[in-house]
Amino acid sequence: MSSERDAQFHDFVLARRAGLVRTATLLTAGNAHLAEDLVQSTLTKLYLAWPAFQRAHSPDGYVRRVLVNVLVDERRRLWWRRERPTAELPDRPHPGDPGPPGELDERLRTALRELPPRMRAAVVFRYFYDLDVAETADALGCTQGTVKSQTARALDRLRAALQTRAQGQPSEQNRTFLRQGVTS
């Protein structure tokens, strides 16, 4: 290892890469290839800014900001948009049929994919990582009011998308999901 920076970065990657991939997978709505790309770009930016990262008051917050910045980066945004599926909806279940295992995952993944990147990130940070509004605002580089409105709109959209795709009576899985979330 040629420098202290290299050694520290190498250790950081070994310790944190798996978690970064999971976060990136959520931020890209389950697109594994784009998630890997996102992680690689994020790690490269961290390496470039390693002294600043080391001095950061909240290293985790710093990483989240870089992830979001890379996610919404102009080129990647366009790349992401070209990856978005057309109006091909998954096969719809029969009313009352909860569907095969994983079907709700797929519907949620599709619904997440249709959210703008920042809105998707707000959902991930608030409802998966349990960050508070202030921490989420810091990650997204926006106001706390924006986080609240973005998450509320995101949940509305997810709810509407899942209801549309479920066609008819929502399954028990859907009902459980749809009851969640608009309270915060």
Binding site: T25, R82, T86
Partner: protein, 225 residues
């Protein structure tokens, strides 16, 4: 099953990286650092000359000029194709005056157009997943026209250009390759965006000239994301 469980399922299991993974990440970081340092070293001496070239090229109305090779904001891009009048069916949302010679509208809807080289036509059976040129949803190797996304801010830093009679910005791709995105201000305040993939054989003047021939209609809609 609640939302967290669903998200956890989508996130997948944590797979510990190998030392080789970390080595590869480190190598990417080192390369990026070297590029940055090289750019900083060269930047000072090159800046003045580049500024003169950019001022000459981009403030003299090249949007309506004759296409051809020319100096650019990062060197010289040699044109290997010409723009010709577009004679095909006009797409939804936008009107095209010109296209690169031998290109066609591969896909269009209310919010975007994708142009691709005609050489991919007439080859049934090619799996689009194996070659993005054949995938009408892919922008790779193509020109994509759209309106600024609803959740998107203004144009990034780039070279200010005149696109016909409108102001625009020609911005480098994030990968710092020859790809460019042209932002063209519209009367509505929403920008027209044209993404040129790297190595299309178009000079920067031709990119601007192409942009000057793209007209946004009332049917065009902004996308999101």
């Amino acid at each position: 099953m609640d939302l967290r469980d669903q998200l956890d399922s989508i996130a997948g299991s944590a797979v510990a990286p190998t030392a080789a993974d970390a080595d590869a990440d480190l190598a990417r970081g080192r390369r990026a650092l070297r590029r940055r340092r090289t750019a900083q070293t060269l930047g000072g001496s090159a800046f003045a000359a580049a500024a003169v070239v950019a001022a000459f090229v981009f403030t003299t109305g090249i949007g309506s000029g004759v296409p051809g090779p020319g100096a650019t904001d990062s060197g010289t891009t040699v044109s290997t194709t010409q723009l010709v009048s577009y004679k095909g069916k006009q797409p939804k949302g936008f009107v095209l005056d010109k296209v690169p010679d031998g290109w066609f509208v591969q896909a269009d809807d209310d919010s975007s157009i994708v142009l691709a080289p005609s050489r991919i036509k007439g080859k049934p059976g090619v799996d689009p997943s194996q070659d993005p040129l054949y995938d009408p949803r892919s922008f790779e190797g193509k020109i994509a026209v759209m309106l600024q996304s609803r959740d998107q801010g203004g144009p990034p830093a780039g070279t200010e250009v005149k696109v016909g009679d409108r102001d625009g910005v020609l911005a480098k791709s994030a990968d710092n390759d020859s790809g460019r995105t042209l932002w063209v201000e519209q009367p509505s305040g929403v920008y027209l965006q044209i993404q040129f993939w790297a190595d299309l054989g178009l000079s920067h003047e031709q990119m601007v000239d192409f942009g000057a021939g793209v007209h946004v209609t009332k049917a065009a809609k902004q996308g999101a994301g």
